[in-house]
């Protein structure tokens, strides 16, 4: 009986993903960020710090504008398409403290890759080995992290497709890591001077950014495909809006 109750609870929790709109929006956002990253990676500048700061700035703006636009579009779509077909659900009210915690976690999650790159660039001398192998471990680590998040979210909401998405993201991270390994890693000299090391660090960071871009792009595509498939199934099961009788 408790298993049935749990499954009912999960169904209600996963209702936000019932129509595929959120996955499509998130996938679109990921793809947009990936394209921005790829463009930034091709326009490398003389100073690595200013280049990284400009990339971080562009991405932060894109994330802010993109998330705001996605929320407004989703709100409209849910109101005009989903709620008339399968009903309106208002999520649990959350306290101010919970909002702050969620906001902090979201910012940390979104900025983690950028902060990681900036931190790595500041620790050149002591972490040259870590930096040289960054194009390999960075996409693998990020892929593992995103895959775990995806699977956990799927478990919490009882959505099996999230498990599959997690596995695909993990495979994508591994594939990108091995691809970078096959290309060969930048070799750092034993006695290094910041002036000489700079182009090598820049190459390592640039390749890590390319890895991040591809992983983000592939994740975006996976999300978009999952969203489209979910939407088609939802549309087929709920072709017309329902009217409550007076």
């Amino acid at each position: 009986m408790n298993v049935q109750i749990d499954s009912t609870l999960k169904r209600a929790r996963g209702y936000w993903f019932v129509d595929g709109f959120i996955e499509m929006a998130a996938g679109g956002l990921f793809a947009l960020l990936a394209v921005l990253l790829l463009i930034s990676g091709n326009t490398s500048q003389a100073s690595s710090t200013s280049w990284l700061l400009s990339v971080a700035g562009e991405i932060s703006i894109a994330k802010f504008v993109g998330i705001l636009a996605a929320v407004l579009i989703l709100w409209w779509l849910k109101d005009h398409f989903t709620y008339p077909r399968t009903g309106l659900v208002r999520g649990k009210r959350i306290t101010g403290t919970q909002i702050l915690i969620m906001f902090r976690n979201a910012i940390l999650f979104l900025l983690l890759p950028i902060i990681g790159l900036l931190a790595a660039s500041l620790l050149i001398v002591s972490t040259s080995n870590v930096l040289s192998s960054m194009p390999v471990w960075f996409p693998i680590g990020l892929g593992v992290m995103w895959a775990i998040l995806c699977v956990l979210a799927g478990e919490w909401m009882g959505l099996r497709r999230f498990r599959l998405m997690g596995v695909l993201i993990l495979l994508a991270g591994l594939a990108i890591g091995f691809w970078q390994l096959a290309l060969g890693l930048p070799t750092f000299p034993a006695n290094i001077r910041p002036g000489i090391l700079q182009p090598l660090v820049l190459e390592s960071i640039n390749r890590s950014l390319i890895s991040l871009s591809w992983l983000t792009l592939i994740t975006g595509v996976i999300l978009i495909i999952s969203g489209i498939v979910t939407f088609i199934r939802y549309r087929r099961e709920n072709p017309t809006p329902y009217m409550e009788e007076a």
Binding site: I5, R11, A12, G87, V89, R90, E244
Partner: protein, 102 residues
């Protein structure tokens, strides 16, 4: 009477009915929802759903709000604190019964 049997007889009869249990479980994980969502998710007929919702409302477990979305009537339901507490207690009792069996 053994502990397990005592727990069994203590189960809340209003919630124990499968259709109402489904409704309370659905309402427990959201702030509020409408008739349509409950209809689709529970798989009940409109008449049956109305009867069970009335029963839950009589017991003070849910609160109903009738509004309009444009010109269309819209009814929303939410679990009251009493309903939430009853549902939590029911799940605890159920856990005790199954633990007692092991």
């Amino acid at each position: 009477m053994s502990g397990s049997l005592q727990n069994l007889s203590d189960l809340d009869r209003v919630i124990h009915e499968p259709a109402r249990l489904t409704l309370v479980a659905l309402l427990s994980s959201v702030e509020s929802t409408d008739f349509l969502f409950l209809l689709k998710e529970s798989g009940l007929t409109k008449g049956n759903l109305s009867v069970h919702l009335s029963r839950l409302e009589e017991a003070g477990y849910i609160k109903t709000e009738k509004t309009f979305r444009g010109k269309i009537p819209h009814t929303e339901y939410r679990l009251t604190p009493k309903g939430k507490s009853a549902f939590d207690q029911y799940r605890k009792s159920l856990g005790l019964i199954f633990d007692g069996k092991k």
